[in-house]
């Protein structure tokens, strides 16, 4: 992995580098093309317009909320999937991971029929005076729906890698299961949990289809940055490009953070 030290022989055939370079370009070129399209003199006014700032703020707030919701729901899910075998476990995993492969708009439709006014739960919620449709809550639900699998997958992986030997030792030392979870399990998988949370945040930030279908689009309430970009694109291509660049910058920062954390985590785990 590290060619700076040692002999430098990697065993990778030279032609692999050519294809790898093509692959990297395939991802990088569209970004470069977008940056090239940015109307730089107008960039700052475009991204600091009231609607843009409102959309970015809403995106950050809702993504933080849905990440918190992912952590609350995802830790128990990952634990159940990783630790206690039960009939139907594979099926449960398949369903939990479904939003990963589902078109987000399908997720939005499903949420609509669950939490919408005429939905499975929505009717009872409406009786209780809770209205989810067209609210910021709906945005958070849509984002959580699509982001939850990211947290569950990376946490379940971390739990399986960590194994349960430390937990068994903790139990024989007299720690109750809840104590074991709090003082041993969670700290051990913290790097995995952190990178899962970061991925969930990134996914929430980019959520578009489910939000558009389920939550609607109203400035300051449900119009997140991706929806704002989609709308700006109708009239003001320059604004759309500028905002896209902001979203890319936030995403790059978030993924970079995740990568750094993961490496730090890997270093901590290299000992018996």
């Amino acid at each position: 992995m590290n060619s700076r030290s040692g002999t430098g022989y990697t065993g990778v055939p030279p032609w692999i580098y050519a294809i790898a370079a093509a692959g990297a370009l395939f991802v990088l070129l569209p970004l470069v093309a977008m940056v090239a399209k940015v109307n730089w003199p107008q960039f700052i006014p475009l991204i600091t317009s009231e609607s843009s700032v409102t959309a970015l703020g809403l995106s950050l707030r809702t993504s933080a909320a849905s990440t918190a919701l992912c952590i609350i729901l995802g830790i128990p899910l990952a634990l159940v999937l990783a630790r206690s075998p039960f009939p139907g476990q594979r099926l449960l995993r398949a369903f939990v991971l479904l939003p990963l492969v589902l078109p987000p708009v399908v997720g939005g439709i499903a949420l609509l029929y669950t939490f919408g006014r005429q939905g499975l739960l929505g009717k009872s919620l409406e009786v209780a005076g809770i209205q989810i449709a067209f609210s910021t809550t709906a945005v958070v639900l849509a984002q959580t729906f699509v982001a939850l699998p990211f947290l569950v997958v990376s946490l379940e992986g971390a739990l399986r890698t960590a194994g349960n030997r430390y937990e068994l030792v903790a139990a024989t030392l007299g720690a109750r299961p809840t104590t074991v979870l709090r003082r041993v399990t969670v700290p051990l998988v913290l790097p995995g949990l952190a990178s899962g949370a970061v991925l969930s945040f990134a996914r929430s930030l980019g959520e578009f289809g489910a939000t558009l279908t389920f939550a609607g689009s109203l400035e300051g309430v449900t119009r997140t940055l991706p929806l704002e970009i989609y709308l700006q694109r109708e009239t003001d291509a320059d604004a759309a490009v500028a905002l896209s660049l902001v979203l890319v910058a936030v995403a790059v920062a978030v993924v970079g953070l995740s990568y750094g954390r993961r490496n730090a985590g890997a270093r901590v785990e290299v000992q018996p």
């Binding site: 093509a22 029929y113 067209f134 119009r223 109708e234 009239t235």
Partner: protein
């Protein structure tokens, strides 16, 4: 990654390959490459001449009517083929600007047609062939008992409209100004489809869409016409695209759309005559 002297060659070769791939792709719709005027390739045009084929880019709201008109046209002119591409008008303008192979462009508003002609991509002048007005769409039971445009402003009514940035939204805004009724929409969607979706799923009590959208949606929504809709009449222009390699056939198709036969098809779907 360490690159040896020998590898540099491979690396550069790969770069060139990738660059040429991207170059090929720049003619396709939706790519971000800047070569906006890149015309369709020669091979494509020669096949088109042989088979007398044209491609029509039309606004999404024309889907039902233009599908019918295209098949009527093919029936009347044996050996011709009309390919259709429906999308939002501004998307279509972007695609044509980026070099997408279109022969005819039918826009849902004059603004987008102007964008295209400003880019010198229209052949001759555009012809207005249809009009469309807004109508209130409500769920079948009309739960909020909407009967007029003013009813939309009542407190507690969940109204969904298009965002002002899109044509149906600017039309709604025009009517608001003209009537002095201020709407407090729960959502400003970016397309008519999204507004209709909120109404058919009964999330919203009412939505403002075009009258043609309501007739397309069947019995999933009910239309509530209102007289103030004539304050914002939307005009649909059609034109031959400058880069067309088959302008004759394109003109023939436009002639069909603007003929009395074409008007009947459009009127049946709820469009008005300009």
């Amino acid at each position: 990654m360490s690159i040896t002297r020998k590898n540099v060659g491979t690396f550069l070769a790969a770069g060139t390959l990738a660059a040429s791939l991207v170059g090929c792709a720049s003619g396709a719709p939706g790519t971000a490459a800047s070569s906006g005027t890149a015309a369709s390739s020669g091979t494509a045009s020669s096949t088109r001449t042989l088979t007398r084929e044209i491609t029509v880019f039309a606004a999404a709201s024309l889907k039902a009517t233009f599908t019918k008109l295209a098949s009527d046209f093919e029936a009347k002119n044996p050996g011709t083929k009309v390919k259709l591409n429906f999308a939002g008008s501004s998307d279509l303008v972007t695609q044509i600007t980026q070099g997408a192979p279109a022969d005819v462009f039918a826009s849902a508003d004059t603004k987008n047609m102007t964008r295209l002609s400003d880019a010198k991509l229209v052949d001759g002048n555009a012809t207005n062939f249809a009009t469309n007005v807004l109508e209130i769409a409500v769920p079948p039971g009309n739960p909020a008992s909407i009967a007029s445009f003013a009813d939309l402003g009542k407190p507690g009514v969940k109204v969904v409209v298009c965002a002002p940035q899109v044509p149906c939204g600017s039309a709604a805004e025009t009517i608001e100004t003209a009537t002095g009724t201020t709407l407090k929409p729960v959502s400003e969607e970016s397309s008519v489809t999204d507004v209709l979706g909120k109404v058919t799923s009964q999330e919203a009590d009412a939505g403002l869409v075009y009258v043609t959208d309501i007739s397309n949606a069947g019995d999933k929504v009910k239309g509530v016409p209102f007289p103030e809709s004539d304050k914002a009449v939307n005009t649909y222009p059609i034109a031959t695209v400058g880069a067309s390699k088959n302008k004759e056939l394109a003109q023939a198709f436009i002639g069909m759309v603007t003929s009395s036969e074409g008007k009947k098809v459009l009127n049946d779907a709820g469009f008005g005559t300009p």
